[in-house]
C-alpha cells in the first residue's frame, strides 16, 4: 500500500518534470524533435488548443501575502490518444501547435510502453538544452560578480 503511494508520487513527479521540459521548450525546437522522432500528430482534441490569460501572483516582500502583479498569455490543450490516455498541456505564450504536441506527449508519456520513447526523443533533449542554456547564462552572470579587494595605503 505504502509503496503504491510512493510509486504514484514518483510518477506524478516524473510527469510534472516532463511537462516542465515541454512548457519551457521553444515551440520550433519541440516541432523539430517531434518530426525527427516520427511521433504521431493525430489525437482527439478534447479542449483547445486555446489561448487565455493567467493572473501572475507574487508575494509582498518576496515571502508575504500574495498579490496579483500582472497577467500572462497561456495556451492550453487537452487531447486523447489511441489507447485512451488523456494528455494535458499548459504553456506561457500563444503557440497552439506547441500546446497540441505537448498534450500528445503528455498522453503518450502516461502509456508505460511509450514513456521511454517520449523521454528519450523529446524530454531528455529538451531538458539537456535547457540545462546548457541555464548554465551558460549563469556563467555569463558569474563573470560579472564583483571581487572586492582592500587597498593598503602607505607603509605598514
Amino acid at each position: 500500500m505504502k509503496t503504491d503511494r510512493r510509486q504514484e508520487r514518483e510518477e506524478a513527479a516524473g510527469r510534472k518534470a516532463a511537462m516542465a521540459a515541454l512548457s519551457h521548450a521553444p515551440g520550433e525546437r519541440l516541432k523539430a524533435l517531434w518530426v525527427q522522432a516520427g511521433l504521431p500528430r493525430d489525437a482527439q482534441k478534447l479542449r483547445g488548443p486555446e489561448t487565455g490569460l493567467v493572473t501572475v501572483r507574487g508575494r509582498i516582500g518576496g515571502g508575504g501575502a500574495p498579490f496579483n502583479f500582472g497577467e500572462a498569455t497561456v495556451t492550453r490543450a487537452t487531447v486523447r490518444v489511441e489507447g485512451g490516455a488523456v494528455g494535458h498541456a499548459y504553456a506561457l505564450g500563444r503557440d497552439k501547435e506547441k500546446a497540441l504536441l505537448s498534450a500528445i506527449a503528455d498522453a503518450l508519456w502516461q502509456d508505460a510502453s511509450r514513456r521511454a520513447e517520449i523521454e528519450a526523443c523529446i524530454i531528455e533533449p529538451l531538458r539537456a538544452e535547457q540545462t546548457t542554456a541555464d548554465e551558460t547564462r549563469r556563467a555569463e552572470t558569474a563573470a560579472t560578480k564583483v571581487d572586492f579587494f582592500t587597498m593598503v595605503r602607505g607603509e605598514d
Binding site: A12, A13, R15, K16, M19, A20, S23, H24, E50, T51, G52, L53, V54, T55, V56, R57, G58, R59, I60, G61, G62, G63, G64, A65, P66, F67, N68, F69, G70, E71, A72, T73, V74, R76, T78, H88, Y90, A91, L92, G93, R94, D134, E135, T136, R137, R138, A139, E140, T141, A142, A143, T144, K145, V146, F148
Partner: protein, 369 residues
C-alpha cells in the same frame, strides 16, 4: 433644437491609411521584424509588458511597432487586447528566492551570500554615445566564469535573523487577494491591491513620486537592500491534474527597499520595507515602486500624511497611464456643443460686466458733477 452632426468618415479612413504609410516610413529602409524588436529593444518591450500588465514579448513588440514606438499607445493596445482573452485562473505566487538570477546587487551588504552580480547593467557606463552601434560592428561573446552553486537568499532574510527588520508583509488569514481588474477600486486599499496598481503604474509618474520622497516630501530614509533580476518559474493549480502545472518562466525585477523607522508606541525602532516587483528587466520602475509602496504605508506606521507620495488616493488614482491618457487626450475630440454653451455663457457674463461698468462710470460722473 438639437441637431446631430455626422461626418468625417472619409477623413478618418484616409487618416488611418496615412498613419499606416507613415508608420512604415521610407520603403527603401527594411521593415522592422518583431523578433528584432524583442531582441534589440528588449527593455522597451519589458516596459510595455509591465504597464500593459500582460507578459507576452511578441505581443508587446507588435504593439510597439503598431504604435510607432509610442510607449503609452503600445501599452493601451496591449491592455485592449487582454480584455479579449478568457481567463484560466491565478498562478501560484512566484518564488523570487529561487530565481535564476541575472543581476543582483545590494547597497546595504558588501559580502552577502551569492555576492554582487552586476549582470547586463547600464551602471558604470560613461553614458557616451557609441558610434560602433551605428555601424553595426560585430559584438564579442560575453565572458564566462564558473558559477558558484548555492542558495542566494533575499537580503531581507539576512536582516530578519537579527530581528531588526519587519517581516514580509502579511495580511490576515482570511484576506482574499484583491484584483483591481475584477472589482472597482475603493479606498482605502489593502497593500496587495496597492502593489498591483503600482506594478502596472506609469514608470515616469512613480519615478517622480519616488524622487519627491527623497527630496523631502515624505522622507523615508531608503537603502536598496537588494535589486534582483532574473527568471522565475510560474505554476498554476488546475482541477484536471494532481500537481501544480509548470507554465514556463518569466523574467521579473524585484526590489527590496529598506527604510529606517524610528519606532512608535506600538513598534520598536527597526527597519521597515518597501517592495517592488515588475515584469521584465525594469530596475528603475521596481525601485520607484518600492519607494512609493513604503511612502503609501504612512498610515500603517502612524506617520503624518503630508506629501503627495503618501496620499494613496492621489497616487493610485493617477498612476495608470492608460486611464490618464484617455482622460487627457479626450479633450481633443469634438466638444463643439459644450464649447458653444460656454461661449454663450461667457458672452452673457461679458455683457453684464460691461453694463455694470457703464453704470459705475455714470455714477462716478454724476457724483463728480
Amino acid at each position: 433644437m438639437y441637431v446631430a452632426v455626422k461626418g468625417g468618415d472619409a477623413a478618418i479612413s484616409n487618416a488611418h491609411q496615412l498613419l499606416a504609410d507613415r508608420r512604415r516610413g521610407d520603403r527603401s529602409v527594411p521593415a522592422l521584424r518583431l523578433d528584432q524588436i524583442v531582441e534589440q529593444l528588449a527593455l522597451g518591450v519589458d516596459r510595455v509588458m509591465a504597464e500593459g500588465s500582460l507578459y507576452d514579448r511578441e505581443l508587446a513588440a507588435l504593439a510597439i511597432a503598431q504604435a510607432r514606438g509610442d510607449m503609452i499607445e503600445a501599452i493601451f493596445l496591449v491592455r485592449a487586447y487582454r480584455t479579449t482573452l478568457p481567463r484560466f485562473g491565478y498562478t501560484l505566487p512566484i518564488d523570487t528566492a529561487a530565481m535564476q538570477v541575472e543581476r543582483r546587487v545590494s547597497a546595504t551588504y558588501k559580502d552577502l551570500p551569492g555576492g554582487q552580480l552586476l549582470g547586463p547593467t547600464f551602471d558604470y557606463t560613461h553614458r557616451l554615445l557609441d558610434p560602433e552601434i551605428a555601424t553595426g560592428t560585430p559584438v564579442a561573446e560575453p565572458e564566462r566564469r564558473e558559477a558558484e552553486a548555492g542558495w542566494m537568499p533575499r537580503v531581507s532574510e539576512i536582516l530578519a535573523h537579527e530581528g531588526l527588520i519587519e517581516s514580509d508583509g502579511e495580511l490576515p488569514e482570511d484576506h482574499v487577494t484583491g484584483d483591481l481588474t475584477r472589482e472597482p477600486v475603493e479606498f482605502p486599499l489593502e497593500r496587495d491591491l496597492r502593489l498591483q496598481a503600482l506594478s502596472r503604474g506609469d514608470e515616469g509618474f512613480l519615478l517622480a513620486l519616488a524622487y519627491s520622497t527623497q527630496r523631502g516630501y515624505g522622507r523615508s530614509h531608503p537603502f536598496v537592500g537588494e535589486v534582483r533580476i532574473g527568471e522565475v518559474e510560474v505554476e498554476i493549480d488546475v482541477p484536471e491534474l494532481p500537481f501544480a502545472v509548470p507554465l514556463g518562466r518569466i523574467r521579473v525585477t524585484e526590489c527590496q527597499m529598506v527604510n529606517q523607522f524610528k519606532g512608535s508606541a506600538k513598534v520598536p525602532p527597526q527597519f521597515t520595507r518597501g517592495y517592488g516587483l515588475v515584469f521584465g528587466q525594469s530596475e528603475r520602475k521596481a525601485m520607484a515602486m518600492s519607494l512609493c509602496d513604503r511612502a503609501l504605508r504612512a498610515r500603517e506606521f502612524g506617520e503624518d500624511v503630508v506629501a503627495p507620495a503618501q496620499d494613496e488616493e492621489f497616487v493610485i488614482s493617477h498612476s495608470d497611464n492608460v486611464q490618464a491618457t484617455g482622460f487627457v487626450e479626450h479633450l481633443k475630440l469634438p466638444h463643439y456643443v459644450d464649447f458653444q454653451a460656454e461661449l454663450g455663457l461667457v458672452r452673457g457674463m461679458r455683457a453684464e460686466h460691461e453694463a455694470r461698468k457703464r453704470g459705475d462710470d455714470q455714477e462716478t460722473r454724476e457724483a463728480a458733477e
